[in-house]
Structures are given as structure tokens and as C-alpha cells.
Amino acid sequence: MVNFNTPTPFPYTAFVGSESPVIQAAQFAGCLGTRAPECTEANFGPIGTGPFVVDEFRPNDVIAFSANENFRFPDRPYFGTVTFKGGGDAAAAARAVLETGEFDYAWNLQIDPTILAEMEAQGNGTVVSAFGTSVERLHLNQTNPDAALGDIRSTAEAGPHPFLTDPVVGKAMSMAIDRALLVEIGYGAGGQPTCNVLPAPELYASTANDACLVQDIAGANALLDKAGYLDTDGDGIREAGGVPISVLYQTSTNAVRQDTQALVKQWWSEIGIDTELRNIDASVFFGGDPASPDTFQKFYADIEMYTNNFPGVDPQAYMANWIYDEWPRPDTQWQGANIQRFCNPAYDALVDEMAQTADIAERGRLAREMNDMLVQSYSIIPLVHRGNPSAHANSLEGIAMSDWDTELWNIMDWRRAE
């Protein structure tokens, strides 16, 4: 039985995907609260309702499964055993499926798209991808991150950012980016250019911002000229109120992200914006340690880039990330999801409205409106709608890739081709 604490307009989340698995109460009875870390056996061999049961679990190495004899369909799954092998890297995993044929399936193949295409061309397997809601995006700090401000930088007390709060600057930066090239170089089958922070499901995807798909450096330059951001001292960099438009652009350390950074820096230099690049180890950047100056929540930079998404199919909680209360700040230990410090009372009102709206079409309209409000504020610049490339051997049938659930959701239907 599931009880909701408050009226919930979209209750269709329990028992419909990997986000809310069914596990056995008796097995986990002694594992609640503080005893949770002691239940290694239960955690490594949970009793559930799926088509396979765990035989052996070796963390970060191997998980061996065999068919569940008590599965609800007596004639399935078609396979007797399944083995997961971890370790190595994405390229090696792709090679084991596409080149040597040692394995039948590999997921999360975030490798150079040309290498993946070459491997696929050998004819042993097929690359498939599915798109959920992951979007690689730039966040433009709306507060002042100037190091001279000390502890109050990137907070409300620091005041607004000297130039990034002006949507014209953000719009020009967005126009200067060739998203299709970013996809071609870094993502291949695992990405599509996007102009929305909420790219899917279809009901919620706006079409109002699609102009960003075409790079327009001349247009961006004209826009900045018209708004009065001119290069008055002839050094190739525009000034805003006498201060050169120079941004610190940070992200986590990762080959694709550094390629993207280099390209974006080049394009921004063509519109007279100077860029300093920085990359931070992912365990620090995403670590959320309030004592570290380098976390993405503290945002001691002008611009930062990463990917976020939301689980399930309903964007209500996700869109509520950008309300004023979600600003990361010292008194919340820098926790909060409104990373770019976006603030618009009209947006907060839409979030409240969505929490009380049950009609699905109306929810779609609200979500699209919020997406447009965010994107057109140019406090966030969506770049790439990221998919999740996987590869399977050609002899494996029945795969129906989905990013809305685990991609193994229908593994009971997988079978060997005749």
C-alpha cells in the first residue's frame, strides 16, 4: 500500500520502473535505519520479482544471475543465466561486443563517435541509443562571483553579475555555439542538439527556442553591438561598463567536456568574449563538500557546464529546481538545485500552479512555459540532449532500449536469434 502525504497530481510513479523496485519486506526487516550498512548479504542478493536472481555478486567485477524459477511468466526469461562484467573502459566494452564478440551487450558507451562507428562497421553488432531527459547545459551565474568579494561571492549579498544577468549577452553566447558540431565531435549517436532544458517527454518539449540550432556568429556580434557592448580599446574583447567581458568557464574533468570547452572558447572569442577554462575532478566538483571552493553548487565561476536530468516521466519536481528557495547559499550548507541563481516570481508562481494541476494537457502547457521562461532568460544555455548509447550483438533479439527506465527493463523478452 502506498500513502501520499499531500495531494499529488501525478501519482503514477510507484512500482512502474527501476526507480521504485519491489523488494522483500522479510529480507530487509533487520536492515532499516542505522543497520542499513550491515546488510551486505541482503544488499548483494535482494529478493525481488524480476526474471533473474543473483547467484554471485562481486562489487565492480562480476554479477552472475540465473533465471528466476518463480517468475510470473512460466516460459520466460529465455536465457538461463546472465553475467554482468565490470571494469575496463567504455572502448573495451564496445570492443568486446562489436569486435571480438565475447559479450552480447554493452552499455554506457560514451566513446569517440568515429571509433564506435568503425567498430560497428565490422558487422558483429549494432549500436542503439535511447534518449531520456539528460541535457548537457551551461549555467550562467546570475550573482557576482568576483573573488574580491570573499565569502559572499556567488550569493544574493554579492549582488547581480555585472553582465551575465543581461539576456542579450547570454543570447549572443548561445547563438555563437554550433551545437551540431559539438554533437558530431563529442557525442555521435549519443547526442542531439537541443535548445530546451526540458527536452522530453514530447508533451513537455517546447518548440519555441529552436532557432538556437543554427549557429549565427554575425547575428551574435550584431546583437552585442546594438546593445552597446563594444570593444572600445581595440584588444578584441568587448567591454561592459568599462570592464572587459571575460568569463571563467568551469566543468568536470572529462575528455568530451574539455573538447566542448575548447570549441566554445573559440566561438566566444569570435564574438569578442574572452574565456578562461578550468576543469575540476568530478569527485570534487559534484562532491558537494561545503568546505571546498570548487563544487558546482558554490559556483565560484561565471559559467559552468554539466548534465542533469530527472528520474521517471514527470517533470514537476525537476522544474521546481529553479525557484528562489532553491538557491545554494551558506545557510543551507550550499545545498540547492537552482545552480545559476535564477530568480523570477512569475516562475515560482508557475511551479505552485503545476503542483495543483492534475490535467495532463495543462501540465504540459505549464512545463513548456517554465522551460521557455528559463531558456529565454539565458541564465541557462542548453547544448546537447544526451542519449545513452549501447551496443548489442546481432544475434541478440528483443531489445527495446528506453532511457525512461533501466535499459534492461524487458530482459525477459531477450532471446537468441534463430
Binding site: T34, A36, P37, E38, C39, T40, N43, F44, E56, R58, P59, N60, D61, V62, A64, T83, K85, G86, G87, G88, D89, A92, R95, A96, E99, T100, E102, F103, D281, A282, S283, V284, F285, F286, G287, G288, D289, S292, D294, N308, N309, F310, P311, T332, Q333, Q335, G336
Partner: protein
């Protein structure tokens, strides 16, 4: 000799305590967070609870002494219990728990020890078996074609990194020829001749890659040490009194030449247990080296501490073993 060994063992205790504290501090003060690898969709209050349950918020010294007690007392008892079946370990459930997997670190290490010992250990033995004869012959026939080829191969083996030779071998023998698998199966059990052949096939590439690397270093040491000794007066004396070349080289010169080589061999043994991080990654052997690297990447402090502390113990022990072996090789070296 016994007194010397005992004295050295007692002296090792403060050394190890000091090492353990340094390891603890370095790992602890590094700016990584155990929840960094979790999806961004997990809310901050849940993250705070996860950190709290991992004991990250205790004072530093409390964390250190808790860890030290578990490391030197509880975990050995659990290991002992596992081997003998005696109920020796305390039943309060206190173990060194990996942040990442929520399972006891010693169990993770035990799972990974077999493949690391098999692949890295065999490659070490292969390396020694190749290196010693090559070193001896190269020195005895200095500047011969054998010496030139040996020098060339050892330079190659030493200077080309294993992540290159490993991938090269995979491309040739796994992708193009299809002789050997590119992925090491850690669950494979050797029960009969056929399964032994399978084991041999899957380990031959990592063993040869590491073996070549080890052999090239050791053969150079062996050659240099032999050359030093071949020109000594006692060699001329041995020949003058009519001993055969075989006896001169293999008994008189070899034994004296082995002293520096033994140091190199013994001090590299802990590296076997440490695994060969890169080679293990390339061939998906998933041994101790890979455990350590993943633990470092995900801020899994207990695992990093435990594995590095075990390395420290092994290095201290094999240092001692090397010192004792000197005495065996050269009776003039005595410590009492």
C-alpha cells in the same frame, strides 16, 4: 640472525603506525566526497544522511583510532574465523566497511586476491625466469649478437608502457586472430585439463605483457652485476686453479652477482600484491590494483586506507626478507 629478525620486526611496529597515520591523513584530507559519484537526482538531505551513516563527520582522531582498531584487531580475527571456522571474531558487526559497496573491505580484497596473485604473480615468475639467463649470458658474452638483441628487447620492454603493449596484443591476438579473449573471466574455475587450457588462454596476454616489463628491468640488473664480478681477481684465481668455466660462472660469479639482484626482486614482490593497476584495467582482470583505483576515484576512503596499509606491511616485510637473504648468499654478511 634470529635476534636480528626479531629486532627488525619490533622496530617495524612504530614504522607501520607512522605510515598508517600518514596514509590516513593524506586520504582523509583529500578533497573528495563519498557521495560525489551518486546521481544528482538524490536530494541533499539524503546525501547528508548517507555521509552521517558513513561516519564522515566524526573528529579526525576518533576516525583514525576506530579504523586502526578494526584494522589490526577485528579484521585479522574475522580473517582467522573465515579460515578456521572458529568463532573468534567479535559479533558486534564492526568491520571496515567500504563506502562504495557497503561491504567489508577485507572481503573485497579476498575476492580479488586470486586473480591478482595468479596473473601478476605468474608474470613475475616468468619475468625472473627470462631475466636471469638473459642477464647471465649477456654479461658472459658481452657485445655479442645475443647481448645486443637482449639489450634491444629489454630497452623496448622497459620503455614501452603496458597500456600500449596490452592494447596492441588485444588488437592482434583477440580482435584480428581471435586466439585469446580480451576480457578476463574472474569467475572461471579450473577443474580439469580443458578448463586449465581456458585459464591459460585468458591469462597469457596479461602475463606476457607484465612478464616482459619485469624481465627487462631485472635482466639489466643481472647483466650489470655479473659484469662487475667477472673482472674480479677471485674469478681469475678460480680459473687459474683449473676450475671449469661452468663452475666459475654459475657457482662463483653468479652467487656474488645475485646480491643486488635479490634486492630488486624482493622489493618488487609487494608490487605483485598491489597488482599492476594499468595492466589489470586493460585486460579487465579486476584485481587489487583495479580495486584501489576505483576506490580512489570514488572517494572510498576505508578501502584506500586498508589496501595501502597492506602494501606498507608487505614492503616492510619484504625489505626484511631481502636483508636476511643477503646473509644466506654471502656468509660474510652477518648481523649479530
Amino acid at each position: 640472525m634470529l635476534t636480528f629478525t626479531i629486532r627488525r620486526l619490533i622496530l617495524a611496529i612504530p614504522t607501520l603506525l607512522f605510515i598508517s597515520f600518514i596514509i590516513f591523513l593524506i586520504v582523509k584530507l583529500s578533497p573528495s566526497d563519498p557521495t560525489a559519484g551518486l546521481p544528482l537526482t538524490i536530494p541533499p538531505e539524503v546525501r547528508a544522511q548517507i555521509r552521517e551513516s558513513l561516519g564522515v563527520n566524526d573528529p579526525l582522531f576518533v576516525q583514525y583510532f576506530k579504523w586502526l582498531k578494526l584494522m589490526v584487531w577485528d579484521e585479522p580475527l574475522h580473517l582467522f574465523e573465515g579460515w578456521t571456522g572458529w568463532n573468534a571474531a567479535p559479533d558486534d558487526g564492526a568491520r571496515i566497511i567500504s563506502y562504495q559497496t557497503r561491504s567489508p573491505v577485507t572481503e573485497l580484497i579476498a575476492q580479488r586476491m586470486p586473480q591478482t596473485l595468479w596473473v601478476v604473480g605468474v608474470s613475475y615468475i616468468v619475468g625472473v625466469l627470462i631475466a636471469l639467463p638473459i642477464g647471465i649470458i649477456s654479461a658472459y658474452r658481452q657485445y655479442s649478437w645475443f647481448d645486443q638483441i637482449g639489450t634491444f628487447i629489454s630497452m623496448l620492454g622497459f620503455s614501452v608502457p603496458t597500456f600500449f603493449t596490452g592494447v596492441l596484443l588485444i588488437v592482434i591476438f583477440a580482435v584480428n586472430l581471435g586466439w585469446f579473449p580480451s576480457v578476463y573471466d574472474t569467475t572461471h574455475k579450473v577443474t580439469d585439463w580443458d578448463s586449465f587450457i581456458v585459464q591459460l588462454k585468458q591469462s597469457i596476454m596479461p602475463v606476457m605483457v607484465l612478464g616482459l616489463f619485469n624481465a627487462s628491468q631485472m635482466s639489466r640488473f643481472m647483466r650489470a652485476s655479473m659484469l662487475d664480478n667477472l673482472n674480479q681477481d677471485y674469478v681469475r684465481t678460480a680459473r687459474a686453479k683449473g676450475l671449469g668455466e661452468r663452475t666459475v660462472v654459475l657457482v662463483h660469479v653468479l652467487r656474488n652477482s645475485l646480491i643486488p639482484v635479490v634486492t630488486v626482486i624482493a622489493l618488487n614482490v609487494p608490487a605483485i600484491f598491489g597488482g599492476a593497476i594499468i595492466t589489470e584495467q586493460v585486460f579487465k582482470v579486476n584485481g587489487i590494483g583495479q580495486l584501489l583505483i576505483i576506490a580512489i576515484q570514488s572517494g572510498d576512503i576505508p578501502t584506500v586506507q586498508t589496501v595501502s596499509f597492506i602494501f606498507a606491511v608487505l614492503i616492510v616485510l619484504f625489505n626484511l626478507a631481502a636483508d636476511v637473504l643477503y646473509g644466506v648468499l654471502d656468509p660474510r654478511i652477518r648481523y649479530d
